[in-house]
């Protein structure tokens, strides 16, 4: 089974999909590690589950787990369920069977971002200027940072955690508490962060519509300019050769193979959408990438052939989240209006 964007049938018709309407904006989506279930974080406090299998009956809606909006969602790195964070200050572990357990509560704070590390079972979440690291049942706080954390991610080996904030990025050694944090400074506010899949680079999006990338080994850095909006979504290809970025009308990838992207324009490919890409998600293993637009359109791109196909038509509600299933054939997406989508790319 292969994804073949050159197949004329792919251009002619949309792949099979399930679309369920909720009435709350979708802040995030994820697949469970066993691949059976997609979950959607909703603005009414619910985490809605749907089967990955389009032929299976839709799971009924469950009562809210957060008071207020769910702001962050990820697959549970230590199980088959999910973890969620909300503007009620709670960080929850959600079982596929409906069980809910509280990992942390930070009164008056919002839990806005969650990062996970599958191999070590660790997860980290933001709570204002502090990051909460949950590992082997223990919760540890790192910080405070200079400002509220706007993005965080684990290193490839899970031993370090990078937090983006006003003035740059701070990297904490979470395996060994005695090591001092490392600071990577760049003036201004950083609004998104992704550590490269090979652990060698950290990329951020900035308030000034740039992206900034630090090379870990030499602590050198580079700045890429020319975006018309903030780059809120960054995604590294599985082989760490490409950094995909949002805020362009076509797929935009910076090459980190060989000498890196300095002095070279990014590779841009695919069909130009009517609007800008709001979310990008690189395929978990292969050369494909998903792009969701502020028009509601979703495209699947192939960086090898530099083609793209539309897999969901524009409908005016911006795509807010995208997630690949572990099998690399199915995906989940959500939008501002509250549509929950599961798409199967196999024909």
């Amino acid at each position: 089974m292969k994804l073949d964007l050159g197949n004329p049938a792919w251009q002619a018709e949309l792949p099979p999909q399930r679309s369920i309407a909720s009435d709350a904006p979708v802040a995030g989506c994820a697949f469970s590690h066993d691949g059976t279930t997609a979950a959607f974080a909703l603005g009414d406090g619910c985490v809605r589950l749907l089967p990955a299998d389009l032929a299976a009956a839709a799971t009924p809606a469950a009562p809210p787990v957060h008071k207020g909006a769910v702001l962050a969602l990820a697959a549970d790195p230590a199980g088959d369920g999910f973890v969620s964070g909300g503007d009620d200050g709670r960080l929850l572990r959600l079982g596929l069977d409906g069980t809910v357990s509280e990992l942390a509560e930070q009164k008056g704070k919002w839990i806005e971002h969650i990062a996970t590390h599958k191999a070590s079972g660790a997860l980290a979440a933001t709570a204002g200027k502090m990051a909460l690291v949950v590992k082997d049942g223990a919760v540890r706080e790192v910080g405070p940072h200079q400002s509220t954390i706007a993005g965080l991610d684990f290193s490839k080996d899970g031993g370090r955690l990078a937090c983006a904030h006003y003035g740059g990025v701070t990297v904490w050694s979470i395996g060994q508490a005695t090591l001092p944090p490392r600071r990577f400074a760049w003036a201004g506010s950083h609004v998104a962060l992704k550590w490269s899949t090979d652990g060698k680079f950290i990329a951020t999006g900035t308030q000034e519509n740039d992206i900034h990338v630090w090379r870990m080994a030499q602590a050198t850095d580079m700045r890429m300019q020319g975006y018309p909006a903030k780059v809120r979504s960054l995604s590294w290809s599985a082989d760490a050769r490409w950094l995909y970025t949002s805020a362009q009308p076509v797929f935009t990838a910076w090459s980190f193979a060989g000498k890196g992207p300095e002095g070279k324009p990014p590779l841009q490919f695919g069909q130009e959408g009517a609007g800008l890409i709001t979310v990008v998600a690189a395929h978990p293993a292969a050369e494909f990438v998903l792009g969701g637009y502020d028009t509601g359109e979703i495209q699947l791109g192939d960086i090898k052939t530099r083609r793209s196909v539309v897999i969901r038509m524009a409908d005016s509600s911006p795509i807010t989240c995208l997630a690949w299933a572990p099998d690399g054939f199915r995906l989940a997406a959500g939008n501002e209006r509250g549509d929950l989508l599961v798409i199967d790319l196999r024909r």
């Binding site: 709350a24 909006a69 503007d87 201004g188 609007g275 005016s316 911006p318």
Partner: protein, 325 residues
């Protein structure tokens, strides 16, 4: 960006004022009135009193400099983040009220609404409301720039606690406020008691509503001119404005004097143009557009206002004269 909500921007009212002036009392008044509206309230961490509302967000005032070489270009990072977060909720609301700390500079709050595209797409700054403590204002002016700048930024001033001062004292305070900012609407209040339509939905930053602005008083009752003082200046002319010269002149002023100019607005009769040209700004940030057409026979008068520190009146007058046909 083409979003379905862009037509329904949520109005944001900023409540500012020195410590103890009565901001929280005003906030609770707004919330307790039977207006049938729902407000999200963003309060600072050091709030004086509790606020009774379903949707209260505690904010650290995180003032961020933009990394774009513009020295006075600061924004409230926490506001950008919180507004974005509020939009993820299912419950929608009719307005957002932002309470600043007593020592806050309103500049970064206002500039956030000029600078950040995501914030601009979802919200609009409606007005800056400054609560002034009638008893302590003159003393507060001596303690730093904050009390003076909060009045300079204001669209609406609530001269509060009027019951605690004599008629003479009140007159003195009022004159002082008007010497700083004669264009703000001034209301005398006790215990922050005010009709809500005096402070909400003012459209003070709406270019379509900058039709006329007149000082809220007739005589300048303030005659001692200290250095470093915040004052206002208005320039008027019946001669048409040369748009290129004006743009160059205004650009240069904001470049050099931007940090000292808190608010500016203007209505211009551009040479040969059938419509008014309207603009308004905070520090170096500026919003401008074509406004209403001039009516037949209507006098085409251009009018500019600056509120700022160390305004060089003669220089500004001369500069404006040079932009006229």
């Amino acid at each position: 960006m083409a979003t379905s909500q862009s037509s329904a921007q949520v109005p944001v009212t900023v409540l500012t004022g020195y410590l103890g002036a009565g901001k929280t009392t005003l906030l609770n008044r707004i919330l307790s009135e039977q207006h049938g509206k729902k407000y999200a309230v963003i309060v600072n961490e050091f709030g004086e009193l509790g606020v009774d509302n379903d949707l209260v967000v505690n904010a650290d005032e995180e003032v961020f400099e933009m990394n774009n070489g513009c020295i006075c270009c600061t924004v409230r990072g926490d506001l950008i983040r919180i507004i974005e977060g509020l939009m993820k909720r299912k419950d929608k609301f009719d307005g957002i009220l932002v309470e600043t700390t007593g020592l806050a500079d309103p500049g970064p709050v206002a500039q956030t609404f000029f600078t950040d595209d995501d914030v601009k797409a979802r919200t609009r700054l409606d007005a800056i409301v400054t609560v002034v403590d009638a008893k302590h204002f003159l003393g507060q002016l001596e303690q730093g720039d904050e009390a003076e700048e909060q009045v300079a930024f204001a669209d609406v001033v609530l001269l509060n606690k009027t019951d605690l001062v004599s008629a003479d004292e009140l007159k003195k305070v009022e004159d002082r406020i008007r010497s700083i900012n004669p264009y703000a609407r001034l209301h005398r209040t006790e215990k922050s008691k005010i009709e809500l339509d005096a402070i909400l939905d003012k459209g003070a930053f709406d270019l379509n509503r900058i039709l006329e602005f007149e000082p809220d008083f007739l005589e300048h009752g303030h005659d001692h001119d200290h250095e470093d003082e915040v004052t206002s200046l208005s320039l008027v002319s019946d001669r048409p404005v040369d748009p290129d010269k004006f743009q160059k002149w205004m650009g240069a002023i904001l470049q050099i004097k931007g940090p000292d100019i808190f608010r500016s607005k203007g209505i211009l009769a551009i040479d040969g143009a059938p419509r008014r040209y309207v603009y308004q700004g905070v520090h170096m940030m500026m919003d401008a557009d074509w406004g209403q057409p001039w009516k037949e026979g209507e006098p085409r008068t251009s009018k500019l206002v600056f509120i700022g520190r160390n305004l060089d009146g003669e220089n500004l007058k001369r500069g404006f004269q040079d932009c006229l046909k």
